[in-house]
Symmetry: C2
Subunit: 381 residues, 2 copies
């Protein structure tokens, strides 16, 4: 496990990233105001003279703005490093790529571990509730600041896909291509239930201290680690777990003193949990999972998703993966159906992959080909 010292040094230092601070109050969907809201971001490639080549990439629950290159916190490659760069799918020779940390996140953008400018103390669980729509509204401020009138493309997977949907619905005139991947227009009871287990694990941690662990200089590592473990299982398919680990065993270790040895899959999950806590904030995890659970595009139309896309002018590409049981293809079909009911421009691809929900983060050749083709098609029109 990480030491608290390195943890605090790593994720409480915002100087690693460009950061736009708003000079006005930022109004949230629930009516509350955020003062001096800020958004941390990264860009790759160059904005052209016409400012017509910008692609906004929206990250998932535990992602961040370091989509490409080396992440200065984890020292690892960005989460879409293989997708972004010269000659890659999101080709920095042609496109200007923007990726920002979401509102409520923990990598520089306003969130529970930011300082409240009024009280000068950490927000913690006094940070206001936020929605996916709020995340997108803050991204919109960044896009305006960068002088971009219309995004060539908005793209993202999972919670990133939810942001793409909000972009296409709330700012259709600002988006040419919209690509939500491996996502849904609202969480099912099972999605909510799985998130709730993670939240309970965090809140059960002795070091969570009702969300005030930052002031006490401790970290609810065990709870956050357990939350990550259960989430990680949902990101993989049964087949990918079986292929990767099966029932392979490994010897004694310090984590399990009771039983005579472990399965590899157990050690792997323990590692996933313990490395996650070095880069993520437990309160952020509570806020972001809750914003996903609350997300429901059809809510204000009494469940009628068709009404959401009335007169929508974006060009949509919806992508799902065969073995994704967290956001199965049936969820994407609802969106495609609603878009078609409005005679919107929509393409839909279900990609064969046995690697589960995580497929959108992995080198799935068909995903790469389809995205590349759709972007080229978008430029021609």
């Amino acid at each position: 496990m990480t030491t608290n010292k390195s943890y605090y040094k790593n994720i409480y230092n915002y100087e690693h990233t460009p950061n736009l601070v708003l000079n006005k109050n930022f109004k949230l969907q629930n009516g509350k105001m955020l003062q001096k809201a800020n958004i941390a971001y990264q860009t790759y490639g160059k904005l052209n003279k016409e400012k017509s080549n910008a692609i906004l990439i929206c990250h998932a629950l535990t992602g961040d703005q370091y989509a490409s290159g080396i992440n200065p916190i984890t020292k690892k490659k960005g989460w879409w490093h293989d997708m972004i760069g010269k000659g890659k799918v999101f080709d920095t020779n042609s496109y200007y790529i923007i990726c920002s940390n979401v509102l409520g996140g923990c990598m520089g953008t306003s969130g529970p571990k930011s300082i409240n400018p009024l009280s000068k103390t950490f927000y913690g669980i006094n940070f206001p509730e936020i929605s996916i729509k709020d995340m997108v509204k803050l991204q919109y401020e960044l896009i305006k600041f960068l002088g971009i009138k219309k995004l060539f493309c908005v793209v993202g997977g999972s919670m990133g896909g939810m942001q793409v949907l909000e972009w296409g619905i709330n700012y259709p005139e600002k988006v040419k291509l919209a690509i939500p991947i491996a996502t849904s227009f609202r969480h099912t009871a099972q999605n909510i239930a799985l998130h709730e287990v993670g939240r309970q694990a965090i809140k059960n941690d002795f070091n969570w201290i009702e969300g005030n662990y930052i002031d006490k200089k401790v970290v609810p590592e065990k709870g956050l680690s357990a939350a990550r473990m259960v989430a990680h299982i949902t990101y993989m398919s049964e087949k990918s777990l079986s292929t990767k680990f099966g029932r392979n065993k490994r010897g004694f270790n310090n984590i399990s003193k009771i039983f005579s040895g472990n399965f590899e899959v157990e050690s792997y999950l323990q590692y996933q949990g313990s490395s996650f806590v070095k880069r993520f904030d437990a309160n952020s995890y509570l806020y972001l999972t809750k914003s996903m659970d609350r997300f429901d595009l059809s809510e204000k139309y009494n469940g009628k998703l068709e009404s959401v896309f009335k007169n929508n002018t974006c060009k949509w590409l919806i992508i799902s993966f065969t073995s994704d049981w967290l956001f199965p293809t049936s969820e994407s079909r609802h969106i495609v159906s609603a878009l078609n009911a409005n005679a919107c421009k929509v393409s839909f691809v279900e990609i064969e992959s046995d690697r589960g929900h995580d497929s959108f983060l992995l080198k799935v050749p068909r995903l790469y080909k389809i995205l590349r083709g759709f972007l080229i098609g978008g430029k021609l029109q």
Copy 2:
């Protein structure tokens, strides 16, 4: 949550159930010895003169010997109450029903919360590791004690089904009908991973105290509750969660102070977790889940399940449920295939149900009909 006082009164008092104490050492599969091992059990109906009407019912992970009638600890109906009784599927007018608490359990049979007769202290995590085969071996001692030469039937679901498989394989001459329901011959990596999350939640609990909570008179309630929550999700199908709860909301409650309200599914899971800790022991949960993860009938035959059933003489009925994603039908098909490869007597039914793994505990009419028919057929032969 329960008070520690009532918890200790409830589950540390063994006087609520008949209890057979062995007068010899009990040798476990790993070579270790248990002294004065005991097995707590319940019976329903009467053993006939020929002692040919006995049915052994094996309970699942969190079940107990109170399969029928009112459970004296929970004050609720037994877990198969609707299945066992006069005129019911397991008709106590005709059959003598036996159900015992498993080895490693916490309802009276030897387990981590028993007193070690040598040290006179609670076993805790000094209880030896146990296997599904050990559970069955202890049940065999009970059957001998009751004077039964051959069981008419052994039946059980989930971990109970694993015990049925061990019965049919280790004591084929002692079993006429064997009915493993909603089970598998070995856990997949995903099964193991999901159990490991629960174990981590328990071990992360501040009150677990390296398994020594009994001496300290505390209970690792939060960890055990979280373990139950994640398990409960796996027992239900996505559809059954959606049908039961969907995205229904409920108002404020004391459990979530941060966010403005909860989903019903969250409150339900929290309730499931907090009521579970009143009747179950956290260390037992560790031992029993581990014994399920370790269970692998094909292990000693290098993965060749066919070899397990060579010359097997039992009459088998294998049952699975369409929406069970914890033990999907494909797992049962492996067993059926291995039995058929040995020309064993085997019937197989996949029952249509959208209620997930828990279907074996619920009033699924087709399950009832099939069991009733198979028992009648078994009597005729």
